[in-house]
Amino acid sequence: MPTILDIRHVSKFFGGLAANSDVSFSVEQGMIMGLIGPNGAGKTTLFNCITGFYPPSRGDVLFKGVRTNGLQPNQMCHLGMVRTWQKVRPLAKMSVLDNVMVGALARTTRLEVAREVATAQLEVVRLAHKAGAIAGGLPIGERKKLEVARALATRPALLLLDEVMGGLNPAESEEIIQLILELKRSGLTQMVIEHDMKAIMRISDRIVVLNSGEKLAEGEPQQIVNDKAVVAAYLGEEVA
């Protein structure tokens, strides 16, 4: 499988503080890459560096083989990379359909086309029955789905999901997991930040573990679970 995203020695400093330091890994087309780590490990910062919200302080991000440092998020979107947010950001006063249409309009200027795409995406996330509702009024589970639908409507090649299951009840989480797996089957590459370990172990093809901004480990889920360093990062050191 060809590489779609290549992260090379990326560091991000805020003042003197390193939120990411020297992180490297690559994501292959069609896979699901899990990104985990304790609070404050720098996962969201890395997402921000990849999607153009921050320029990396050092290192390069290559998307589809092109160096994208310094590009703006909207340019990244047009290149085919889109993200969701840990804290959902619905366009609160717009309807659900309008939210998704905004995403779809990245690829068309015609509203009818965008409406069709959006309606289809709402079907995919099973939110079609709420098309006319105001986005700000949805319960959290549906807002998370809306985020995904809106991102999908931009027709991405790579989807970055930031804690899309956070705050959901088990049934809702399961629904999202099925959705992610379905998207994978349709060939979409995904990168997933998640705290629900059960879920991330189930869906990921590979996992990168960040700790205090550095890459601690990378491998398949089973490798990660048995990695001493990872266990220590999560449970604290076993001090004799």
Binding site: G167, N169, S212, L235
Partner: protein, 234 residues
């Protein structure tokens, strides 16, 4: 001393805590462990009245905490050392400490408490004129705890004191927590660092997605396989 019954809490429509029961007895160290986002910090915020619960009872001794404002809880002797230290960055170490004894009743002990803080954390004595914001993470954590102690707490709520600290410092902090407890302060500790905090705890609760799934003495839980599973998803 502290009794939480059937506590439910939501951020907007995002439900974070489901029917949490929790008890802290005099002189105990009680630990709440759980993964990120499990709702540990939210319990503490409910106790210190930074947030308002949807339902449930919160009692400190005979006092119904639900009737009080944040600053009144502090005056009762329940002091919350928040996650991320939250020291006042533009104030000196000494000023930060002084703020810790803002409640009128504690001001008379100010000098003595500052002495105690400097004994516990000699580092702070060296840095007393320095601005809080310019100190290292470990120093800030020490300051945050020291500042909490300035309010003569009967019950100290500690939120993730080990977060982002080097292993050596973590060990140090845990020793100090034990010392504080030995001097007579009851402690409710919220931690990610499962092993160390369980080892410290008289009793502990395991929180998973907003629910208490396990409780027992620290030692019991250390041996429980479920704990590891809850954290690593195995």
């Amino acid at each position: 001393m502290l009794r939480i019954d059937k506590l439910n809490f939501s951020y907007g429509d995002l439900k974070v805590l489901w029917d949490v029961d929790l008890e802290v007895r005099d002189r105990e160290i009680v630990t709440v462990v759980g993964a990120n986002g499990a709702g540990k910090s939210t319990i503490l915020k409910n106790v210190s009245r930074l947030v308002r619960p949807s339902s449930g009872a919160l009692r400190f001794g005979d006092v119904d905490l639900r009737r009080l404002a944040s600053h009144e809880v502090v005056e009762l002797g329940v002091v919350h050392v928040p996650e991320g230290r939250r020291i006042f960055p533009e104030m000196t170490v000494l000023e930060n400490l002084r703020m810790g004894s803002f409640p009128r009743a504690t001001r008379q002990d100010r000098a003595r408490n500052i002495e105690r803080a400097f004994t516990l954390f000699p580092r702070l004595k060296e840095r007393q004129k320095q601005l809080g914001g310019t100190m290292s993470g470990g120093e800030q954590q020490m300051l945050a705890i020291a500042r909490g102690l300035m309010g003569n707490p009967k019950l100290l709520l500690l939120d993730e004191p080990s977060l982002g600290l080097s292993p050596l410092l973590v060990k140090n902090i845990f020793e100090i927590i034990r010392e504080i407890n030995r001097q007579g302060t009851t402690i409710l500790l919220v931690e990610q660092n499962v092993y160390q905090s369980l080892r410290l705890a008289s009793r502990a609760y395991v929180l998973e997605t907003g629910r208490v799934v396990l409780s027992g003495t620290g030692a019991e839980l250390l041996d429980n396989a479920h704990v590891k599973k809850a954290f690593l998803g195995m």
